[in-house]
Every structure is written in structure tokens, then in C-alpha cells.
């Protein structure tokens, strides 16, 4: 009996601390500086670990910084096909062509630029998480001790804390929006709905120990616009709603997600589609157009890549979002992988294990850049416009641009794409006068 009472007391104290130090400041939009202090300690610890690793490495390391792995592990000769074949040109041209294609084939087998985007980015040095310890081996006792302390801190202290916060956040979101949804439509309702959404977002961001830096806040998306961003994980939406209110677009899910969707749509005009409706592209475009045309409605948030990419590159933007019209507000999101990997590899992990990994990382640190609004030009078609927006986002976020479709995660290359390449090669042959 005594034990239960004692546990109850501890629980109450715990809840009071959480509410007082975290939830209340979130509601008011102020920060007590706890996260900043935590980040400072974390950075110092990781710096120390890095120096230990450097000392512990057996060979003397040159001071040259390593080429970023985002661009691959093999040296690629970027000479265009024509030049290279010309260099080897003899009367028997096919031999030279064979060399070129042979080498390209082997380079593709060793590493292709597409598949590597669907696995997590490799780190330059270990960040004391077990999951990233692939290349790094046992170095010293002190490092191992720090790592063990890290495990204890993360699993026994941070995880319950974050879980509590997430639970509070989600519950208050559902309850809050349901309550606000009962009010009659009007400015009061809109204002209250914004407050509820913002507060819950802030609580959820703190549940992930998120440190987000927003840049160029003057370019924040306005009402009646479309906000477009690169996609790395499901928490991208939370990162953005932490700083502003958006109307979400997406498919209706079952389970907890479905409950949240149904509750929030009462308070704020989010656009949720049934599974059957998604297939009908005209219907989707029509609904989104109606939403955008109403200038009093919140800007809609869309991720045109369609799938999660590992945050080192931006893949093809689906043109559907760019056919709706209206002003596009591009946003670039770049996560810092040193503190925790935000990428969701949906073929490897399901959503629950993904969230567990996120909650046992050190923190989620990211930079968000609001880019100046863009509008489709007169002579531009949707695809060109999409590419223009994509370049802007890639350039700002320091990501590489790939012309590939994110759908390649699961499907094969489209035949039309292949034929395009083969036509280029044949054209070159004919031009060289080698044929006929």
C-alpha cells in the first residue's frame, strides 16, 4: 500500500515538473533555456569523443578533410560520353564504346546514385549511438564508459520523458481541436485553433528534443499559398507547424492517425482525401484549387517528392502540386545527422520502430530556410516550374539534385526514360559518321 502511494507521489511530482517546465512554456511560446543547455553539454561530449577517436586511430591521419560521402565512394569521371569515346577512337570504334559502357556499368554496380539515397547518410565520425557504429570499432575504455552512460541516459531518462510529452501533446491536440471544433465558424474559432495547433506542435517538438533554426522568416508562407518542402520523414510536418499554421494535405489513415485527422479537421480546414479519391487526379486538383482560391484559408503544405529521401538530395518533384496555380512558397529542410538520423527508411523500419529510434537519439537538429515565393511563368509548363522550385530548394539546403523519381524506391525505371538515353547514344553514333 505504502509502495503504491509512494509511486503515486513520484508520478505526481514528475507530471508537475513536466507540465511546469515544458508544457506551460510551450503554450506561451517562451523558452526556459533547458534545451539549449542540454545541446551545449551534448556538443561538448561529442567533441571530446571525436578527439578520442582521432587519438585512438592507429595510423597517423592526414589533415585533409574527407570527401563527403553524400557524393559517393568512387571517383567518377564526368567526361561526357562523346569526348571519352573520341579519345579512344580508332577505326574499330565499337571496342572503344565497349570500354566506356563497361566502365559505366561497373561503376553503377559498385554504387548507383539512386539506391544510396534510400539508406541513411553515413557519418564522418561516431556520435556515440550504437546504430551508427558500423565503421568504428573499440577505441578505449573511457569512450566505452561514456557510451554506456549515454545509453542509460537515453533509454532510462530521455525516452520516458519524451514518451510522456508525446502522449500529452497528442492528447491535447485531439481534445483541444475537438473542443474548438464545437464553436461556430468565425475569427474566434480560427484564432483558438491556431493557438491549439501551435501549442501542441511545440510540445511534440520538445518531445523529440528538437532544435530548429528558422531562417528568413519574412518569407513565411501566407494565406492562400502553397508551401512546398523536401521530404525526409513524417516529422517534417511537425517541424514546419512549429512555426506557423498550415492546412495539411494527405490520405485518411486508420488508427490513432485517423483519430487525430478527424479531430483536427473540425477545427481547421485540413484537406484529407479518402483512398479512392486520391486515385482521381482531377478531383484532387479541383479540391486543392478551391482551397487555394479562398484567400482566407491557411496555406497548404505539400511534399512533392512523394516519399522519404535520406536528406542528402532532392529527387523529382511530382508535377501535380504545381498545376494548381497560386503562389508557391518553397521551404528547404536540412537535418544535422550528427545528433540523430531523421530519415525514415520505410522498407526497413515500420512507423513504431522509427519513432522509437527517433526518441532514443540525442536530438533532432535541423535548419529550415524559407525561400522567396515563386509563381509559374507564362511560358513555363508544370514540369519546368517544378524543376525550378526544386533547384532553389536544393541550392539553399546544400542538397544534390537528382532527376530520378522517388518511386524508384519500389519500382523499376520507366521505359520512356531508358529509351531517351538510348536515343542519345544512337544519335551520337550517327553524327560521328560511323554508321552507313
Amino acid at each position: 500500500m505504502e509502495v503504491v502511494w509512494a509511486v503515486g507521489q513520484v508520478g505526481a511530482v514528475w507530471l508537475a515538473v513536466v507540465l511546469g517546465l515544458i508544457v506551460l512554456p510551450s503554450a506561451l511560446g517562451i523558452s526556459l533555456g533547458i534545451s539549449e543547455a542540454y545541446m551545449r553539454v551534448l556538443v561538448k561530449t561529442l567533441e571530446w569523443a571525436t578527439i578520442r577517436l582521432q587519438k585512438g586511430a592507429k595510423k597517423p591521419q592526414p589533415q585533409v578533410p574527407r570527401t563527403p560521402t553524400a557524393n559517393g565512394i568512387i571517383e567518377r569521371d564526368e567526361t561526357p560520353m562523346e569526348k571519352e569515346i573520341a579519345l579512344l577512337h580508332r577505326a574499330d570504334f565499337e571496342f572503344s564504346h565497349i570500354f566506356y559502357f563497361c566502365r559505366k556499368g561497373f561503376e553503377a554496380i559498385v554504387e548507383d546514385e539512386v539506391t544510396q539515397r534510400f539508406s541513411s547518410e553515413e557519418l564522418l565520425s561516431w556520435n556515440l549511438l550504437t546504430r551508427t557504429n558500423v565503421n568504428f570499432h573499440y577505441i578505449s575504455l573511457r569512450l566505452t564508459v561514456v557510451w554506456v552512460i549515454g545509453v542509460i541516459v537515453r533509454y532510462c531518462f530521455l525516452l520516458p520523458l519524451r514518451f510522456t510529452l508525446a502522449a500529452i501533446g497528442i492528447t491535447s491536440m485531439i481534445v483541444g481541436t475537438t473542443v474548438v471544433g464545437q464553436l461556430p465558424n468565425g475569427s474566434v474559432k480560427n484564432y483558438l485553433s491556431e493557438v491549439v495547433h501551435l501549442t501542441c506542435s511545440r510540445i511534440l517538438v520538445r518531445a523529440l528534443s528538437g532544435t530548429i533554426h528558422y531562417h528568413n522568416k519574412e518569407n513565411r508562407p501566407q494565406k492562400g499559398g502553397i508551401c512546398v518542402a523536401n521530404h525526409t520523414s513524417p516529422i517534417d510536418a511537425i517541424i514546419l507547424t512549429n512555426d506557423g499554421c498550415y492546412a495539411m494535405v494527405g490520405q485518411v489513415h486508420g488508427g490513432l492517425m485517423g483519430v487525430i485527422q478527424r479531430a483536427t479537421v473540425k477545427a481547421c480546414p485540413h484537406v484529407w482525401f479518402e483512398r479512392s479519391e486520391i486515385k482521381d487526379r482531377h478531383l484532387v486538383t479541383k479540391r486543392l484549387r478551391e482551397h487555394v482560391a479562398d484567400k482566407s484559408k491557411l496555406p497548404i503544405l505539400i511534399f512533392p517528392e512523394g516519399t522519404c529521401i535520406n536528406n542528402t538530395s532532392v529527387m523529382m518533384f511530382k508535377k501535380g502540386s504545381f498545376e494548381i496555380g497560386g503562389t508557391i512558397y518553397p521551404v528547404a529542410i536540412k537535418y544535422d545527422p550528427q545528433f540523430g538520423d531523421a530519415f525514415w527508411n520505410s522498407s526497413k523500419y515500420n512507423i513504431v520502430s522509427y519513432l522509437l529510434r527517433i526518441m532514443t537519439s540525442w536530438a533532432i537538429v535541423c535548419n529550415v530556410w524559407y525561400l522567396p515565393p515563386m509563381v509559374r511563368k507564362e511560358d513555363e509548363d508544370a514540369v519546368k516550374f517544378a524543376n525550378r522550385v526544386r533547384s532553389a530548394i536544393a541550392r539553399q539546403g546544400g542538397l544534390t539534385e537528382l532527376p530520378w523519381d522517388g518511386g524508384l524506391k519500389r519500382a523499376k525505371v520507366k521505359d520512356t526514360f531508358k529509351e531517351e538515353q538510348q536515343k542519345n547514344y544512337s544519335k551520337m553514333l550517327v553524327r560521328n559518321g560511323s554508321v552507313g
Partner: protein
Amino acid sequence: AGTGGVPRAQPRHLCPFPAVTSEQIEHLHRRFKQLSQDQLTIRKENFDSIPDLEFNPIRGKIVHAFFDKRNLRQESDGLADEINFEDFLTIMSYFRPIEMNMDEEQLDRFRKEKLKFLFHMYDSDHDGKITLQEYRNVVEELLSGNPHLEKESARSIADGAMMEAASICVGQMGPDQVYEGITFEDFLKMWQGIDIETKMHVRFLNVDTIAHCY
């Protein structure tokens, strides 16, 4: 575990070649696991998952080369159904770049091995000779995919090339002489003086794990 199963000892077959660093082997091993989807062997179908390879006109021949027993240095002939990591490394070793400390004999052997690999790609019936038909097959594959180029063009290219090969290797032929096909020695003769070592390699970037400080 990330590095489980990586063979720490060098496979015997790689000894004639300059040493591959253990980091490069680890990278290749990870790639192998990706291609094989965590199985111990790869089959031809596993190469279908590489988008970059789809564009390659001689994709079929390249994939075939991985399973060609002549390239795997086994005594037997024909095609293997599946290859393990050691075989994968053996094939990749044909594309090793030249090391600075190789002597004449090693360089010569190096070059011969690369040219032999290429020869096997052409000689699809494994009889040690590239016949006119086999040559035509390769040219057709290179030109495949473009519906505007007719078969005749491919043929004329192949015929022209075979004639040139014949003149290099056999010299003037009598009116009754028939050129049977390019043997490996003839093949070597054709490539004398041309630098292929720098064209037929895949060079790894320096992948030492250097610590990165903030």
C-alpha cells in the same frame, strides 16, 4: 552486426593483384549485401535493382560477365547460377586501378587480365575465338534501342571491323583464305600501344575514417 561475415583474409585468387584495402572490401561487402538483399549469393535477377544499369546497352553482357566461369578463374567452363562474395570480389578485381609500385611483369599481367576479361565478353560461345557473328552480336547490342538504325548498319560496321582486324593480324590474305575469328593473341595485337589500363578501372575515393571536429 554491420561487419559480420566480411572475410578478413584475402581470398587466394586476389594475390596476383595489388592488395585491396580492407575498407574497400567492407564497402563492396555492404554493396553486395544490398544487391543480394542479405542473402549469401547473388543471381542475375539481383542486378535488375540497379536503375543506373538500365541505360547501359551492353547491360546483358556485363551481368553475364559476373557469372562467366572463365572470369571466376574456375577450371570449368560455362555459366554459374549464382556467385558469392568472393566471386564478386574476383570480378571487381578486374577493374582495379594501377598501383604505383608495380613492376614490368606485374603490369603486363595486369593488362593481359583486363583484355582477357574484355575478350570473354565478345566470345560468347567460349571457343576462344571472336567470330564475325559474335562481333555482329556485340555491335547490334550496342546499337540496340534505336529503332531508326537498321540491322544493315550494324552488319556493315561489324564486317568493316573484322576486315581491319584480319589485316592487322594476318596481313594480306589470299583469295581463298578465310579469316576464322580473332584469337586472344590477335586481340592483344590489336590493342598494342593503346593505353587501356587507365580506361578500364574504377577508382575508390580515399575512405579513411578521419575524425571530424566541430
